[in-house]
Symmetry: C2
Subunit: 368 residues, 2 copies
Amino acid sequence: MKDAKAPIGTATDFVKETLAECRQATLPALREAVEGLHPRLARVGAYHLGWCERDGTPTDLHPGKLMRAALTLLSARAFGAGTATAVPGAVAVELVHNFSLLHDDLMDADETRRGRPAAWVAFGPGLAVLAGDALLSQATSVLADADGAPPHRASRALARAVDTIIRGQAADLALNHFPVDRVTGEDYLAACAKTTGLLCGSVEVGAALAGAPLPAVRALSTAAWNLGVAWQVADDIESVWGDAAASGKPPLGDLRQHKRTYPVIAALRSGTPAGLRLAERLDSDSGKEPTDAELLALADLVERAGGREAAERSARDHLDRALRALDRAVDPATAENGLTALFRHVVDRHDWRRPTAEPGPVAEGAAT
Amino acid sequence: MKDAKAPIGTATDFVKETLAECRQATLPALREAVEGLHPRLARVGAYHLGWCERDGTPTDLHPGKLMRAALTLLSARAFGAGTATAVPGAVAVELVHNFSLLHDDLMDADETRRGRPAAWVAFGPGLAVLAGDALLSQATSVLADADGAPPHRASRALARAVDTIIRGQAADLALNHFPVDRVTGEDYLAACAKTTGLLCGSVEVGAALAGAPLPAVRALSTAAWNLGVAWQVADDIESVWGDAAASGKPPLGDLRQHKRTYPVIAALRSGTPAGLRLAERLDSDSGKEPTDAELLALADLVERAGGREAAERSARDHLDRALRALDRAVDPATAENGLTALFRHVVDRHDWRRPTAEPGPVAEGAAT
């Protein structure tokens, strides 16, 4: 039997296999859902998903992890449902995920995705918006066709998730307009909803399709919410101190854009001299493109103000809470269904832990 | 008793009263739905709907006809449902309508709406896209909360409508990329779905909330589809030969943009010398802004090729079919519920009939 509670190093193969199995179960139905759109929108969708070039030529790009599909399938499995029951849910959450990516790339003016021009750059904003709309609409349809159990709990869970990620994106867009010294942890969590909302939706849809009891679904959703926050904070840490080459993101990108990330907010609210100097620097933005040396100096201020440490603590805490809630939701004896291992993987795949950090989040996580 | 079958001149007051009553029933719940969004998106939505200025100051603009809400309420009423039962449906179809307007204005680069800057101009494309997403998501939620009757027929009807209008918008965006001589009536009808889809959805949602029998819902939907085509064709006629001041649109706007409207398509497919000359002119587009004289010459070619007459005939035919299907769907004895009068009004409010036309569409429509 595979040991889902083994330290992350040995769990990786298990997680990889589980993800690959879930991906194989989801991809054919996901392709069918995208191919069912109007041909022009199907092309935009397939391009965005990395399946083809702009002219329709198939690519050999990796189809992506389909993490949300895996969360849905494994959540359903934890409550005794077979893959066939849960695949429409897995397809729906991936469609919603890609709807939000298509629209967010445009909103955030992110010009690349998977190392290629983003869909709004390749096809123009109009077709990218419409293709996003079509993926969202298709998600609703795919799930409604499968969501037999009254009172349509899975469809309701998906609708709630869509509402939540839209609110989260609105909060995120607003966040960077707040004066630097007024941003709170709550503002940060409100923006996190753009990530957490669909993670909650993914596990809730899977559990609902399996007819899981409501208290278990609630605990599972709490687990997914905490997982989402841990993920987001780890992402923030990675974007400043991580290996840019490994993450595929521009180095110090979040600092360059003056994003209100967790470490920056924690540093600004620390009341330390370094935090005050950081606030002055961010306030006195000249509008000029900062040099790498200036960005490294900002990163140093964030770290000296305790922002990095606070973020690391937050990521660990939220992962701990996620794993505890997961144990309440799902009989730990069924942990080999892969959810626990996947949860750890989601956070630990980020390169956010300092080599010097001990006892380290893995040991703590394993102790819960 | 009010006579819904009276000629249009005398029916107008009845229609106006009916529309006003439906609007009053819908507006409070519609406001509540928009105010329930994230505050930044609620502002964009309220501005787009004409309720406030960009800074939130309330306006005294007319709240619009809320035609789709009226179709939903009257359809529910025709099957014995009270207003309270149908209002969530009326709110949902208006939310979907405004979702599509917000996104379409951006896609079509339409910079004004209601004589003010369109939302994407006033707030930027990102917030306009996100506000549209939020209205769509809210529509689903509002209706799901009210849609008690299994198997959630109203929600399914709304989802189908959303799918259809997205397909229609994709077909419409594609239409103007076709070579002039290859555009068919079917292509035109596919693009019409952006209008017809939500008219069908509006009546289906209302009838479903009232628990109407399926054959009646199908007939009602057929009626709405034909109404939508008649409306679109009448709109096309109006945009070339109508009173620009009355319609609030730029004179000859569709011709200026080389839109593939019904009269133009009919003229191009007429095989007449005028049709061939029209095709040459449209093919040899120099890219220069055409003069008004050149546009008037184009309009003259369309008319001499029979495009105007074919369009008038199509609008009349589709209105006739709509009214016949309506009679099948709803007991004509209950016609005083206002649906018949509203159907006529939707098409006849367009200034598309020539003063010389006889016996005229009103007389024909009344004879069915």
